[in-house]
């Protein structure tokens, strides 16, 4: 490994001063082979980077930052009275995925989403997979995202999850693996689209020299997906996007998608349910609503059915849904299938419903409710990553190798008091990609979140959000924890 590090250092010193700090070790590098030569798909980019003076790169980075700030593509950081708006850090250099790699990803993701939908339909109806003992019954019923209210409800096309943002990582051998299925209200797709727009503005020449597959049709694809879910007797359905409101950190994305699709962006206070029909309050009177793309969590969509104090949803919405008068995307109760403990069973779920082997592997996962696995994990906390099953956004996590003895002790107690609530995974060496940092090109860990749509058929726009852990050595890519993102090119 030492030799590999020195080889890139030698290479970069002679050829590219901006690569002087570039780190290369056992982790898969998106741009370089282990011997320090640029991979074929990155070669034109690498050459271009050597021609460009750091000052010019810096200037382009500023152009990009200003474009984000002026467009108001920001998220809000709370803490002081006013709330500060920050841009989601954008890294200048694209992440490149070959056509061949993409084809496999596409197949694997489609397979996974198909199986998970069948699983959701099954557990909210006859529960064959539970009767056959493939998935433990108590694991499903003890999940806090399991919604008993969904039992026996028939929904249009049996599609529970129509919008998914799956997190993938690339392991040391260069293969992609699934890290998390986000089946509730995945976000970030607007950054995927905005990153592309800014990229075209900042690096037009380089962009056009690559054959990058377009992603701009995401809005239309989402609209068709939602239309496919409308009640069958509503041929010209009214589709709306339900947002928690302007204070939600993803509000920019909600407005962006509503505009892309040309649909109304509604808040709970705009909706009224009368005789199991959902209406919105317009200047021309009440107008019937047929499909709701809701970006509000299950708990908050209807205070009469779920959390009583919520003002983000509409009272009576769930009854209208049960009556089949309105569609919700995603359906309530889908979180049971992206529970981190259930994740371990997804390969078995794929096998059970489709009789196929999973195309994209899982990451090895220890279930802490199992005595043997728990003993192993507790003995090796300093090497593993522990996650709370219901959390997202990088919260409720212990990264063993970066933790203190005290933090490990806290997690040990947490695990012992509620083992069902935690899982453990080996500390993954996420792949690294070149990023433009302080005037130089450095390697940072990245993941990949493609967006999958499931309506009449499955659509995956060729691309995704590549999230970057901008702090050197960090493995946490979440925007709330110092992460950024970059444009993702899928070549044709």
């Amino acid at each position: 490994m030492e030799q590999q590090i020195s080889s890139i250092t030698e290479l970069s010193k002679s050829q590219a001063p901006s690569f002087a700090n570039y780190e290369l070790d056992a982790a898969y590098d998106e741009m370089f082979e282990h011997d320090g030569t640029a991979r074929a798909q990155y070669r034109p980019l690498f050459n271009r980077l050597q021609e460009l003076a750091p000052s010019e790169l810096k200037q382009r980075q500023q152009t990009a930052d200003i474009a984000f700030l002026n467009q108001g593509i920001t998220f809000t950081v709370y803490g002081n009275n006013e709330g500060t708006e920050r841009i989601f850090p954008y890294d200048l250099l694209p992440r490149i995925i070959t056509a061949e790699e993409w084809t496999k990803l596409e197949k694997g993701l489609a397979q996974r989403i198909t199986a998970l939908n069948l699983f959701l339909k099954d557990i909210y109806h006859e529960g064959r997979i539970l009767n056959d003992g493939v998935v433990p019954r108590d694991l499903v019923y003890s999940c806090k995202h399991y919604r008993r209210e969904m039992r026996g409800i028939r929904i249009r096309r049996d599609i529970y999850v129509s919008v998914v943002g799956t997190d993938l990582v690339r392991l040391n051998d260069g293969e992609f693996a699934i890290l998390e299925d986000n089946l509730r209200v995945p976000s970030g797709v607007s950054y995927m689209l905005a990153n592309r727009q800014v990229m075209k503005r900042v690096f037009p020449g380089m962009f056009s020299s690559y054959n990058v597959q377009p992603i701009d049709h995401y809005g239309q694809a989402l609209l068709s997906t939602l239309r496919a879910l409308a009640p069958p007797n509503r041929p010209d359905p009214t589709i709306v996007l339900l947002t928690p409101g302007v204070f939600n950190s993803a509000y920019y994305e909600h407005t962006f998608l509503a505009r892309q699709m040309g649909i109304e962006l509604v808040e709970g206070r705009d909706l009224i349910v009368h005789d199991n029909i959902v209406y919105m309050r317009t200047t021309g009177g009440l107008r019937r609503v047929d499909v709701i793309y809701r970006r509000v969590d299950d708990d908050f969509i209807d205070p009469l059915t779920f959390r009583p104090g919520s003002i983000l949803g509409a009272p009576g919405l769930f009854n209208a849904y049960r009556a089949g008068n309105v569609a919700l995307a995603n359906a309530p109760g889908t979180g049971v299938a992206d529970d981190k403990a259930l994740y371990a069973f997804v390969p078995a779920i794929i096998k059970y419903y489709l009789d196929e082997d999973p195309i994209l592997p899982n990451v090895e996962t220890y279930l802490l409710s199992d005595d043997k696995q728990r003993r192993h994990v507790l003995a090796n906390l300093d090497k593993l990553v522990v996650k709370a099953v219901g959390e997202s956004g990088g919260y409720g996590m212990l990264i063993g190798p970066h933790s203190t003895a005290q933090e490990r002790e806290v997690f040990k107690q947490l695990i012992e008091s509620d083992p069902r609530n935690y899982i453990a995974q080996p500390t993954l060496a996420l792949s690294r990609a070149p990023c433009f940092i302080d005037g130089r090109v450095e390697a940072r860990h990245v993941d990949l979140r493609p967006y999958i749509l499931y309506g009449e058929n499955i659509t995956i726009v060729p691309g995704g959000l590549t999230r970057v852990a901008l702090r050197r050595g960090s493995l946490v890519v979440n925007s709330s924890q110092g992460g950024g993102s970059k444009d993702t090119w899928v070549l044709s």
Binding site: T255, D270, H274, R281, T283, G284
Partner: protein, 317 residues
């Protein structure tokens, strides 16, 4: 259109109109008081506060008043507060306005927030000038890019209802402070003040084209209230308000022609057939108050008809 969206468009537009007015008023006042003695300056500031219907804050010199009217966020009518409120309203309906509108409003907001009283006080025009331009730019984009549908008409309503309020208050404050002296000599204090009134309504040049540079209070009142062609006049605003309400009623044909439309028709007729000599002979203060009351009625009726109607009445349709 969602009622909430219409409401936000309306208020975005009102706040922006108010911010532009305040910027122009402060720019002129700071320029005007440069070569005036202290007592005139005090009177002038009092007039500015009256015209904005604000109480006088304690211990206020020009510097503090500029701070209070521009940056003080505790003053809900300060320029920065108005632009923040306009932006906040726009932010809640970002998908409804064109991205250009949002970008420029956001830029205007970032610009006004970056400055503070110390950085602008020696060069106020360098600050207020770009604010006026920014506001004009946003209005230009609104008119030339946004489709002139329902949302645009709510923007029109907000702009012109606010403009009526601002112009009549300004006129009222001027007449209150100026009618004490009836002599008007070119270059004298009063003369300068009347010219400033026209300039605060961006109407000096069009006034001169209509009446020559001969400045007379009665003609100023006639121009700002009853001129049919100037977009700064109250009569023009009444016409625009009526047109917009008619269009809104046509677009939402489900509803019966409402109160708002009838009020607007009456309001327009009041101005179409008014005579300035009668207004002056009677009592201009009462006349201006009456206009503001009618405008307030229209505002309330629009709100009840389009925004906050009862669900029962809507279901009955």
């Amino acid at each position: 259109m969602l009622s909430r969206v219409a409401d936000s468009l309306y208020w975005m537009s009102r706040y922006l109109e108010r911010a532009e007015h305040t910027a122009r008023l402060l720019d002129l006042t700071l320029n005007l008081t440069l070569d005036q003695d202290a007592s005139v300056e005090v009177e002038r500031w009092q007039m500015v506060l009256d015209s904005l219907r604000l109480p006088k804050p304690e211990a206020a010199d020009a510097y503090q008043l500029t701070q209070y009217l521009t940056f003080d966020l505790r003053n809900k009518d300060s320029l920065v507060a108005c632009i923040s409120a306009a932006r906040e309203n726009a932010g809640q309906i970002r998908e409804q306005i064109s991205s250009e509108m949002w970008e420029h409003l956001n830029q205007l907001y970032l610009m006004v927030r970056r400055a503070n009283i110390e950085t602008i006080y020696n060069q106020p025009h360098g600050y207020f000038g770009p604010i006026k331009e920014g506001s004009h730019l946003i209005q230009g984009i609104t008119d030339s890019i946004m489709s002139h549908g329902e949302g645009w008409h709510f923007i029109q309503l907000g702009r012109y209802i606010e403009r009526v309020g601002l112009t009549t208050s300004l006129l009222d404050a001027h007449f209150k402070s100026m009618l004490k002296s009836d002599k008007l000599t070119a270059g004298g204090q009063d003369y300068i003040s009347w010219v400033a009134l026209l300039k605060s309504c961006t109407s000096f040049e069009s006034y001169c084209q209509t009446y020559t540079a001969d400045i007379r209070p009665e003609r100023i009142a006639e121009f700002l209230l009853l001129n049919a062609e100037s977009p700064r006049s109250v009569r023009f605003a009444a016409k625009t308000i009526q047109t917009s309400l008619e269009t809104l009623s046509r677009i939402n044909s489900k509803l019966k022609p409402g109160r708002a439309q009838r009020y607007a028709g009456r309001f327009r007729a009041t101005l179409d057939y008014a005579q300035v000599d009668e207004i002056m002979a009677d009592n201009i203060h009462n006349y201006l108050e009456n206009i503001q009351r009618q405008c307030g009625q229209i505002h309330t009726a629009v709100h009840q008809q389009y925004i906050a109607y009862s669900v029962e009445s809507a279901l009955a349709h």
